[in-house]
Each structure stands twice: as structure tokens, then as C-alpha cells.
């Protein structure tokens, strides 16, 4: 699974900012991201599923409309829940599905509904080991 894109949310409900590289840490999650918790340090989105969602809606929306941090080249991220992935030296334990909230409909009407099934909203995880990740890096599952 390749990292296709990275974005941070500098302020709550403000515009996303795409970056080539970003620092992740267990304490702060994604550097430059406004909101995080120990369990929800970073969020991931499947490129394939985002493509499906936008196709169903018949609209071309940038991937970070979903407000996730990392876009992965993957069909689905559901099998990763409960597992750990590593990107370079960074290790992230994937803890659950990111439930889409009503804000999604403010981005585009019907977006929330399109995201709620099949883990289309992506997954979140806690950063076990921090470090820098970049676009083009490979995310691999760690055997747990």
C-alpha cells in the first residue's frame, strides 16, 4: 500500500493543507493537525473507496474533502482494523473505523450517506512509534 497523499487540518473546520511529508508522534499525532487524541492520532482513507464514493455521487471532490490525513493506495482498509501497520519507521495500530459525521453533508449533500457503509470513511489509529512519513512511502502490515 503506497502513501498517495497527506493532508493536515490546521484549524477546526478550516481548509485542509496538503503536504509531501509530515511528522507523526504518539503524543501529538499528526504534526500541524488541530485535533487528535491518543487513540485517534492519525486517520487513513482508501483511494479506491473514495473513487467509488465520488463516482456514486457523480461529482469530482478532492480526497481531503473527507478530512483524513493519509490517502492509501488500497481497495479497502477494513481488514486493517485491530492490526498494526508501519510506514518507514512509523508504526500505527489501527483501532477502528472513522465514522462520518454530519459535517460531511456540509461539504457535499449526500456525502455522509455514501461513506457510512463498507468502511468507506476510512480508519483511525494510534501512533505507537513516531517519525516522518512521506508521499510515495510504502505502508505494510505488521504481523500481530
Amino acid at each position: 500500500m503506497k502513501v498517495l497523499a497527506i493532508a493536515v487540518r490546521p484549524v477546526k473546520e478550516g481548509p485542509m493543507r496538503e503536504v509531501d511529508r509530515v511528522e507523526l508522534s504518539p503524543e501529538s499525532g499528526v504534526a500541524g493537525d488541530h485535533g487528535h487524541s491518543a487513540r485517534r492520532g492519525v486517520t487513513f482513507l482508501s483511494a479506491k473507496q473514495w473513487e467509488t464514493v465520488t463516482r456514486e455521487l457523480g461529482v469530482n471532490l478532492p480526497w481531503h474533502t473527507r478530512r483524513a490525513n493519509v490517502l492509501l493506495e488500497a481497495d479497502t482498509l477494513a481488514p486493517l482494523i485491530g492490526r498494526t501497520i508501519r510506514i518507514g519507521r512509523v508504526c500505527v495500530e489501527i483501532l477502528g473505523e472513522t465514522d462520518p459525521c454530519a459535517k460531511m453533508d456540509r461539504q457535499y449533500a449526500g456525502l455522509r450517506e455514501a461513506l457510512v457503509r463498507e468502511c468507506r470513511g476510512g480508519v483511525y489509529g494510534r501512533v505507537l512509534v513516531g517519525g516522518e512519513i512521506g508521499v510515495g512511502d510504502v505502508a505494510e502490515e505488521v504481523w500481530t
Binding site: R86, R89, C91, V138, E140, E141, V142
Partner: protein, 337 residues
């Protein structure tokens, strides 16, 4: 002129004896040194290699592993060899015989099982890869095992097979007298110094103590009764400790898929054990089968299992982990960062 007479083993098992069998033993210190060294080795991997552990968590892992080894080793010994320990008591501390570890009794296979269980629980609770923790443990333990063998030598136990008297490394182990010799030990009783009632022990212990303290009369009397032997504990320290560690270090210069290092440990340790046991006196009462000891026969499936585990692990499509050499963080896809 250089004398080639065999060295008479006179080392004291205690660094500091407090009496009543209590004190600081070299054997206990070997465990401690092993755990301390394991801490630094694992920390090195978490600092420069790929790990789900951060360096600050290494102490937690080592403590969890040590608890597993102690509990497993002791419970395993009681379960497999001496079940009375569970329900017998004595009038002196620590009262419950299961806790009387100063009288000996740890089973290595129980310790290994205890470590595996402890790491499984630790991995589940903290979100780590169990296979990776096994690799860290396997990488860190050979030097500790080597220390344990050196402690076996200091204790004068688990000694080697007979060798030529002029063999430069030949050692006379007094424990042979009490374990294997038909000699009448009572004849040595008049030579022993009087022992205060508070330090009264068995005749065998008094003889060993007199030798350790350099009692010339006792040494003169027992030396002809002893067989020059290989210091096989030291060979084992080198082969099962240092050599196994060096091979694993070579394998883990860059990250490997979880259990590759663990499986390699079993295989390499098994091979070294088979080699070393050609010099070690087989357990008493257990005959050699086709020239091989029980330890050697048990090591053969260990080697096979280790190879199978390592080969299967290497084929899994999961992220390579670990590595102790800086700048070798290679992903399965071959991308080097």
C-alpha cells in the same frame, strides 16, 4: 616449567554468603547480567531498527519477560519434576517450598514457555507484534544463556566428559565425588575442620566447602579420586551464547519478517547444543542412544522446527521488523528510506 596438571575447581558459588544457603550467588548474578544486557540490546533495536516498541517501553518488556521466565521456570520445575513443592512447607523462610528457589529448581523449558506467554500478553495489551517480541527476546537472550553457562562452571556443575590429564583445559570438578564417584566419603570426615552448629550441613557440602577454602589435606586426598574433564560449560558459553548471538546479529543487520530471527535462534542454538554436548557428561542414568545424548536428540527436532518457522516466516507478506544496524530500514517492497 609449565605444569600441565589439571586445574582443581575451587570456585565458590557465592559472591557473598549470608548463611543458611542464602546470599548473592554468581548464578543469580548471571540472570541479572543477562537481563541488563538484554535491555541494552533490545533498546538498540528500537532506537535504530524498526519496532513497534519505543525505547522507553523496553524496560517494561524486559520486566514482563523476566517475570514470565521466573514464574514459568519455577512452576515448570515443580510441575514436571517435583510436585510436592506445591503442598509442602518448612519451618524456615520462605516456608512454602515452592518459593524456596535458593535450594535450586528452575526448568529451562518452563522458563521459555513462561516467556512466550508473558510476551503474548504484553503484545496483546500494548498492541505489539508477538512475533516481533519473540525476535527481540531471541536476539537478546544468547548472551544471557552464555552467562548462565559460565555460572554453571563457577558452580562446578554440569561438567564435561573425561579428557586426557595433560589436555591444557582439563579441570577436576570436586562435585564429581558426590555425584558420580563410588569413593567412601566418610574417610574424608576426619580431615574436615569442625563446623559451628549454625553452619552444619551434609558431609558432601562440607567436603566441597573445604576444597573451596583451600584445605590442603582434603585437596590432597580428593585429587587422585577425580577425573580430568572438559570444562564443557565454558564451551557451551561460547557456542550457545557467543556464537548463537553473532549468527543472529549477522541475520538481523537489517529488518526481517517477524519470527525469522526467533526461528533462526532455535535452529542455531540446537546445532550448537548438539556440538557442545559431545563434550558434556550426559545426565546420570540416561544412556547414550546411537552415540547421542538425550539433549542432542531433543535438539534435532528443535533445529527442524526452527528452520521451518524461519522459512515460513520469511515467506509471509508482512512488514520486516527489527534490525540493529543503523540505516538499514528496508521495506518488503524494497524501498529504502
Amino acid at each position: 616449567m609449565l605444569s600441565l596438571a589439571a586445574y582443581l575447581h575451587r570456585l565458590d558459588p557465592f559472591l557473598l554468603e549470608l548463611g543458611g544457603g542464602f546470599g548473592i550467588r554468581w548464578y543469580g548474578l548471571s540472570y541479572l547480567a543477562g537481563f541488563v544486557l538484554a535491555y541494552f540490546l533490545i533498546r538498540r533495536v528500537t532506537r535504530v531498527g524498526i519496532s513497534t516498541l519505543v525505547p522507553e517501553q523496553v524496560a517494561d518488556m524486559v520486566v514482563a519477560g523476566a517475570i514470565g521466565i521466573f514464574l514459568g521456570g519455577r512452576l515448570g520445575y515443580a510441575l514436571f519434576y517435583d510436585r510436592e513443592l506445591f503442598y509442602t512447607f518448612s519451618s524456615s523462610p520462605p516456608w512454602w517450598n515452592l518459593l524456596a528457589i535458593h535450594r535450586g529448581g528452575m526448568a529451562s523449558h518452563g522458563g521459555i514457555l513462561g516467556f512466550i506467554v508473558a510476551m503474548f500478553v504484553f503484545a496483546r495489551r500494548r498492541g505489539h507484534s508477538w512475533g516481533h517480541l519473540m525476535d527481540l527476546g531471541a536476539f537478546a537472550c544468547p548472551i544471557g544463556l552464555g552467562f548462565g553457562r559460565v555460572a554453571n562452571f563457577i558452580n562446578g556443575e554440569l561438567y564435561g566428559r573425561p579428557c586426557a590429564p595433560d589436555f591444557p583445559l582439563a579441570v577436576l570438578f570436586p562435585r564429581e565425588l558426590v555425584e558420580r564417584s563410588d569413593a567412601d566419603l566418610q574417610m574424608l570426615a576426619p580431615l574436615l575442620p569442625p563446623v559451628p552448629p549454625s553452619r552444619q550441613t551434609g558431609l558432601e557440602d562440607q567436603i566441597l566447602r573445604a576444597i573451596q577454602e583451600g584445605n590442603a589435606q582434603v585437596i590432597e586426598a580428593v585429587t587422585p579420586l577425580l577425573t580430568p574433564r572438559h570444562p564443557s560449560q565454558l564451551y557451551e558459553a561460547l557456542l550457545e551464547g557467543l556464537v548463537v548471538f553473532l549468527v543472529l546479529a549477522l541475520i538481523w543487520t537489517r529488518p526481517r519478517r517477524p519470527l525469522v530471527v526467533g526461528g533462526s535462534f532455535l535452529a542455531v542454538y540446537g546445532v550448537m547444543r548438539i556440538l557442545a554436548e559431545f563434550f558434556r557428561e550426559p545426565d546420570e542414568g540416561i544412556a547414550l542412544v546411537m552415540g547421542l545424548s538425550r539433549g542432542q536428540w531433543l535438539s534435532i527436532p528443535l533445529v527442524a522446527a526452527g528452520l521451518v518457522i524461519a522459512l515460513l516466516a520469511a515467506r509471509r507478506k508482512v512488514a520486516p521488523m527489527g534490525g540493529w544496524l543503523k540505516g538499514q530500514e528496508t521495506s518488503a517492497a524494497g524501498a529504502k528510506r
